[in-house]
């Protein structure tokens, strides 16, 4: 069966207010050269899904810039390929306030695009996670199990606090979902939490969306999944590979730092030979290391010029580190210009920041210091 992909590029933007001021969740830069949407896109492309729609709600300029024609994912196709689906703003439409916010509202809004899909199955996912999923295995499991809907979950240990951020499932021994708890208040222990990756037949999805429109439903989990638990065969697919949720800015920082030091996790995302993480390729020259630099335990993109000291840090493209500067536990986005004798610790600097000679800035591991786009310090 052929499969089309739907990616939600703006869901949960508000989790990362610092980084999504001028961009969508999908285009938040991550780990030297990637954007979050690269994981979703690559996972789909690596499972031979070649017809992908990206539902973008707002702030999607950087997303469009990143995706371009889709050629970096081999998705610049005459048939299928990639399509960015922004809201349809018309001179005669009602006010923008009626735009969608949730997953289901986005699907309702785009029902005409979904009805046009030619494929049998639809795989839906979002952009606020880091994982190299085997979607091929997921799709064949969905087909062989005869499920109407398959939802990917991960078994994790939850505290009461954490359970409020998740959708949690109960299931029987066959993997059939028997109950659903959407952001519950009081569930603890090892539970199956939703990774928001959903496989469903196109036909069923269209029926469910029309049903949602006529009933004015707004939540995919509360209104669709929970109402159909008995009438439909909804199964879970438990993922036991690496998965990092980005629920807030601290998660973003912690996940980045973990991927520097933890080679096993890094290889679980980037080291799978037949499932490479694809991204936009640029034209940066290689990185130049100076005579007096000292670099350890760091991930570094191309196009950097490094003359100072860099430790436990992530440097994006075209970052320049001046002499005798000392960068520790920091994440410097594209184009940061760091002067001489600068000292940074636990800093996340957005694109194109300039930090002048002898500045000293420090955050804390649980509260990294954020410097906004284009700032000069």
């Amino acid at each position: 069966m052929s499969t089309a992909g739907i990616i939600f590029a703006n869901l949960h933007d508000s989790n990362l207010p610092e980084l999504t001021r001028q961009r969508s969740m999908g285009s938040v830069p991550f780990l030297c050269r990637y954007r979050f949407i690269d994981f979703a896109l690559s996972n789909m492309v690596n499972a031979d899904i070649s017809s992908i729609g990206i539902l973008a709600h707002y702030n999607y300029y950087s997303l469009m810039d990143h995706i371009g024609s889709g050629k970096n994912w081999d998705l610049a196709r005459r048939s299928g390929g990639i399509q960015i689906l922004p809201p349809n703003v018309s001179a005669y439409a009602e006010t923008p306030a009626t735009y969608y916010n949730t997953r289901l509202e986005a699907l309702k809004y785009n029902i005409f695009n979904i009805e046009r899909i030619q494929d049998d199955l639809i795989l839906m996912c979002q952009c606020d996670c880091v994982a190299n999923f085997d979607f091929g295995e997921l799709l064949s499991e969905h087909e062989s199990s005869g499920a109407d809907i398959t939802i990917v979950t991960k078994k994790v240990h939850l505290t009461t606090q954490e359970s409020r951020n998740h959708v949690i499932f109960d299931s029987n021994s066959d993997g059939k979902i028997t109950d659903i708890h959407v952001k519950p208040n009081d569930i603890t222990g090892y539970k199956d939490v939703s990774l928001n990756v959903i496989v469903i037949s196109k036909k069923l999805l269209v029926t469910l969306i029309h049903d949602a429109i006529s009933h004015n439903f707004t939540s995919f989990y509360r209104d669709i999944i929970s109402r159909n638990l008995t009438s439909k065969n909804i199964k879970l697919f438990r993922w036991d590979g690496y998965y990092a949720d980005i629920l807030n800015f601290e998660d973003y920082f912690r996940t980045s730092m973990d991927l520097i030091s933890n080679e096993e996790n890094r290889n679980a995302v980037f080291g799978i030979r037949n499932r490479p993480v694809l991204t936009k390729v640029r034209n940066s020259p290689p990185t130049v290391y100076g005579d007096n630099c000292k670099v350890s335990n760091s991930l570094i993109a191309d196009g950097c010029i490094i003359e100072g000291k860099v430790e436990n840090s992530i440097l994006f493209r075209g970052v320049k580190i001046g002499r005798n500067a000392c960068i520790k536990n920091s994440i410097l986005f594209q184009g940061a210009q760091i002067g001489e004798h600068v000292s940074l610790n636990c800093v996340v600097s957005d694109k194109n920041t300039t930090i002048r000679d002898r500045s000293v800035l420090s955050g804390n591991e649980s509260l990294p210091y954020y410097i906004s786009k284009g700032r000069m310090i």
């Binding site: 780990l31 030297c32 050269r33 050629k71 970096n72 520097i260 890094r266 980037f270 490479p276 993480v277 694809l278 991204t279 936009k280 390729v281 034209n283 020259p285 290689p286 990185t287 130049v288 290391y289 100076g290 005579d291 630099c293 000292k294 670099v295 350890s296 335990n297 760091s298 991930l299 570094i300 993109a301 191309d302 196009g303 010029i305 860099v310 992530i314």
Partner: protein, 403 residues
């Protein structure tokens, strides 16, 4: 369909580059990797697009597979065009065609390609130099002087002049004499192998040259001297700036090293004259806790845990803990195992250097460069003497000798 272009470039990329020895066993010289991310041909192709020339015929012949794949549609250089763009031109069968027998013959066999675009001017290039040059300025120079042929020249030290083809010119730049490798050079204007011809003259002289059984079908040896003898208007276009023929292992090594340092001799990070190249999305490179990196170039996909000094590393290179790489060029996806030591060497792609191997010797005046060919697996503890050039056969005989 309207296909006219003012100027078409023809890039001669069919040569082997035999003085690069085992580096060009499996690939043509223009496809030899350079500077961590590039191949030699990138410089010429980027010069073309940066000079506004969007139609480039690339003539391939020797070991063309990697080169053809690399050029592909020409997309990395913005040379994927509906009309024109980069076009690979291999030798072909036909009533009057054959293998390319010389630079002039190669162009002659593709006059039909040039004719499709009905250009006023034809730019002849070779894909084996590292330089940044604005061909449009040379074309302006050619047009202003109403020349039949313009040849780019660069000043070389007089003591080296006898290694080059030397253009002797009047004060206004007009060429009156061409001497190939003269023992007593009269000037220091060395030909860079870059020619602009007015189309009609090029067609005329290539057709005549083809009919001449005595001719060796070479621009430098036959076509240029003949045009001079016939009194055609020929000018030397003076170029100044970085220009390096990377035809030998030493010059290839030097050109790579010219990228290093605070003020590199050759600057790659030039926003106004970008060098484009084909690349793939590899993860960022990782520098480990015990690594030491000084005065080097490192690129995507590398994993560095050892010591890298004064070296240029291509993508996907692994340097394990305790390994030392010094004054060397390591090409893509090569792995240097624990404790190995590499000095003043060029290691080709996909090589595994076993634990505690010794390759080459520290750089000194009388030490020659060492070359290890591609896709070799060198057993742990093996020593490769400085100045040697190793391919699979050499490695097998080295093994037998040690046993």
């Amino acid at each position: 369909m309207y296909t006219k272009k003012e100027c078409v470039a023809m890039l001669l990329a069919g040569g082997r580059g035999s003085r690069l020895y085992k580096l060009t066993d499996k690939i043509a010289k223009p496809a030899v990797p350079f500077g961590g991310k590039y191949r030699i041909i990138d410089f010429t192709l980027s010069n073309c697009i940066n000079s506004g020339i969007d139609t480039v015929g690339v003539l391939t012949q020797y070991q063309p597979m990697v080169l053809n794949e690399y050029i592909g549609t020409g997309e990395p250089w913005d040379l994927d065009r509906s009309v024109g763009g980069a076009r690979v031109l291999p030798p072909y069968q036909g009533t009057t065609s054959d293998w390319y027998k010389g630079t002039a013959n190669a162009i002659y066999q593709n006059l039909n390609f040039i004719a499709r675009y009905d250009p006023e001017y034809v730019l002849i290039l070779s894909g084996d130099h590292i330089y940044k040059m604005d061909y449009s300025k040379m074309l302006d120079y050619h047009k202003e002087r109403n020349a039949d042929c313009t040849i780019a020249v660069i000043d070389v030290p007089i003591e080296q002049a006898s290694r080059f083809g030397i253009m002797n010119t009047y004060d206004d730049g007009r060429i009156y004499e061409f001497e190939e490798k003269p023992p007593n050079p009269k000037s220091t204007h060395a030909s860079m192998g870059i020619y602009i011809f007015s189309k009609d003259k090029l067609f005329k002289y290539l057709t005549e040259d083809e009919e001449d059984p005595e001719s060796s079908k070479d621009f430098g040896k036959n076509v240029i001297p003949k045009m001079l003898n016939n009194g055609e208007t020929m000018f030397a276009y003076p170029f100044s700036g970085y220009w390096k023929d990377v035809g030998t292992l030493e010059s290839l090594w030097e050109a790579n090293m010219d990228l290093l340092g605070d003020n590199p001799e050759f600057y790659l990070n030039d926003r106004r004259w970008r060098i484009y190249f084909r690349n793939y999305a590899l993860p960022p490179h990782y520098i480990g806790c015990e690594a030491e990196v000084k005065n080097s170039i490192i690129t995507e996909g590398c994993n560095i845990h050892g010591c890298v000094i004064n070296s240029v590393l291509s993508n996907g290179v692994v340097v394990e803990p305790g390994a030392v790489v010094k004054d060397s060029i390591i090409m893509a996806n090569t792995c240097i195992k624990k404790g190995a030591e590499i000095n003043y060497s060029i290691i080709d792609t996909e090589v595994v250097v076993g634990e505690n191997c010794r390759i080459g010797a520290p750089r000194a005046d009388n030490v020659k460069i060492t070359l290890v060919g591609s896709e070799l697996e060198i057993d742990p503890g093996v020593t490769i003497e400085p100045g040697s050039m190793i391919n699979a056969a050499d490695l097998a005989s080295l093994k037998n000798k040690n046993n």
